[in-house]
């Protein structure tokens, strides 16, 4: 496979994952804004931080309002990480790697782009917002479905999946890091049930409320939430889950090509850390510290994969 193609596949699926995560984040922000009594816009501030676009937003706006944030995250052309730009970038990458994709996957991503381009052509009203957010998630899920259902399990598939999980690990880690203070043991005194708005944000933003209830029932506290999102290998958006997948996909490439590269060592190191850590250890070293290190290593791994597999010259 061409190095460029490997890069295009990885980025195609990174961008799709990013678009989907953004939709979930907007959905959460909107829900908090509608259901919380204080109606403050502070939740939108943290949404902007989670999407790593606070500074860029403030460079274009005087104040933070729900409307403006939603528009910024979904469709602003000057926000390179808006859903619309992500989907366009995903499709652009898909076009460059068209020969590596099945017709089904290509058509799914092309249709994803056509649908969302129309849905996001103009400002989305509050009334339309749930429908549009649903479309974003459905279109993205559809692409994933065609990938699972029609693609050969070879190096092409591995690079596509690496893109998904590098991006997802990054998104979950950033989400946690923006809210890490609400998970500190000292915050437990505020309320031990799931009525803490911040905890709800955390779980909803990863579509995790239902799964969390299933696992933890009524026994819910910050340590459980942190463990669930960092260390629970069953939770498909946890750091542990993402790295199990990354480890598997890199392992396939290792066996397929018969060459072990620096990215394999780096990935093993991160995987081992997640295997061995307990949530108590993490709180002891400091949650924020742990997440910052993780985010940095995740970025470093992405860069190492790019070098090892010759995405560019």
């Amino acid at each position: 496979m061409l190095g460029k193609t490997a890069g295009g596949l990885l980025w195609m699926f990174r961008y799709l994952e990013r678009a989907e995560n953004l939709a979930r984040l907007v959905e959460t922000g909107q829900r908090i804004a509608l259901t919380r009594a204080d109606r403050s816009d502070s939740e939108w501030t943290s949404v902007l931080h989670t999407a790593a676009t606070y500074d860029a937003f403030m460079a274009h706006h005087d104040e933070i309002t729900g409307d403006a944030v939603v528009d910024w995250l979904l469709r602003a052309s000057d926000n390179p990480a808006s859903v619309l730009n992500c989907v366009e970038a995903a499709r652009m990458n898909a076009r460059t790697v068209r020969t590596a994709l099945t017709r089904e996957v290509w058509e799914a991503v092309n249709e994803c782009w056509m649908t969302l381009r129309d849905a996001l052509a103009r400002k989305v009203t509050t009334r339309d917002l749930p429908r549009v957010l649903g479309q974003i998630r459905q279109r993205s899920a559809f692409v994933r479905g065609t990938l699972h259902g029609t693609m050969l399990r070879n190096d092409i598939y591995d690079f596509a999946r690496l893109g998904t999980f590098l991006e997802r690990a990054d998104a979950t880690a950033r989400l946690l890091d923006v809210k890490y203070f609400v998970l500190l043991p000292s915050a437990a005194g505020v309320g031990s049930r799931l009525d803490n708005a911040q905890w709800e944000v955390l779980l909803r933003a990863v579509s995790g409320e239902g799964m969390f209830r299933m696992v933890h029932g009524r026994k819910q506290g910050p340590a459980e939430i942190a463990r669930f999102l960092i260390l629970d290998g069953r939770m498909p958006r946890s750091l542990k889950f993402c790295y199990t997948k990354i480890g598997n996909n890199l392992g396939h490439l290792h066996r397929d090509y018969g060459i072990r590269l620096p990215c394999h060592d780096l990935s093993d190191e991160i995987c081992m850390k997640l295997d061995q850590a307990t949530i108590e250890d993490i709180f002891d070293t400091g949650l924020h510290q742990f997440l910052q290190t993780f985010i940095g290593q995740n970025v470093a791994l992405a860069a190492q994969i790019e070098r090892d597999y010759r995405f560019t010259e």
Binding site: G3, M114, D155
Partner: protein, 474 residues
Amino acid sequence: MTSQNPFDEMTLADGSIREAYQTFADWFAAEDPTRLRAKAREAEDVFRLTGITFNVYGDPDASERLIPFDIVPRIIAAREWAKLSKGIEQRVRALNAFLHDIHHRQEIVRAGRLPVEMIARNDAFLNQMIGVSPPGDIYTHIVGIDLVRTGPDQFYVLEDNARTPSGVSYMLENRETMLHMFPELFQQNKVQRVSRYPQTLHSSLAACAPLACDGDPVVAVLTPGIHNSAYYEHSFLADQMGVELVEGHDLRVVDGRVAMRTTQGYKAIDVLYRRVDDDFLDPLNFRPDSQLGVPGIFDVYRAGGITIANAPGTGVADDKAIYSYMPDIVEFYTGEKPLLENVPTWRCSEPDALAHVLDNLSELVVKEVHGSGGYGMLIGPAASKKELRAFRKKLEARPSNYIAQPTLALSTAPIFTKKGLSPRHLDLRPFVLVSPEGIEITPGGLTRVALKKGSLVVNSSQGGGTKDTWVLEE
């Protein structure tokens, strides 16, 4: 603007249906127009979803456009095709012999059959190609011969595309779309299939592998990139052949071979089907500012390290002044009378011809010798007085830059419109593959049709559409 009654390929002057169209005509008469309209829209959706688009330069809002597709097939009878394909094969053999000769001993010039300046002053001629003999002496591997028709048995070659004929992906997708929408039509009519083209292309290219190749030849398609107007076709062909689609920056010269950067290091390419123009192929040998090519690829080529298809310099044969010599060229190299006719052509470089052209400008079609895509051409009968005056000046300033031809009464075939079937002018580009193993012509080709009533311009860049083209079985 054209003669009063151009030949219609479906309906004769007395209203009767020509034989090849009879089954289709019966089917059409029984169809509900509303259903057909819905089908036509459905076809458009299929094209959009598949991404069968072409890019329009300098228009960001419409950077990917669909070429309009007409649901009425263009139907050619088996015996008509048998005759045409013999003529095409003859012409393509002559083209390759000609391209070999002009890069070697130039016998045709020595024999006084072609003036030397036709080659010496031809912008597409590459001195670097002198003495180069590609594997099998094949210069143009993929050829498109543009044909027009004026009567039941009257076909003309309008131009030769020996450089980089495009459009084959539309031929294939048009057929797929028709099979999808109207399967019953293919039960009622026995249509020769076109779907083997990509496999034939692959084996035809592989058969031209260079000496340096050891083992199964590695084929790749070279594209200028995602913004090129024919990018869809490049990716389509690579996909259908199951080979890599590469850009210049994926390639470099490694150990005397051209190699592509893969996830496992550099891997040598044996045959490169390039869709990048000669000028941009190699910044060390041609345009130094090119970002699209591979530095040093031409040196590897000359040394037999890679086969480039089509060979650099084949554009010589696309020149419209050369075209005017094609009957001589065919005869010179094949020793046979040309089976396909040329359109009578005046070379404006010759004073007598120029005088005739200037006197009859309003009745002629005038073309630039290096032009393509329907640009820079004058259709006398359709031009205003002002346009004629402006063109006359250009012609007088640089006569050798032009050739002129009579305005042909191009045949028509029906398209499906809101008011039912309506005749439109069309042409045909059959695709030909050449390898040491032989010449393969896909039955049919790409039919381009002028969608505007009376218009003679079929180019997609200027509002033309396409049709599925059927060659019926015997």
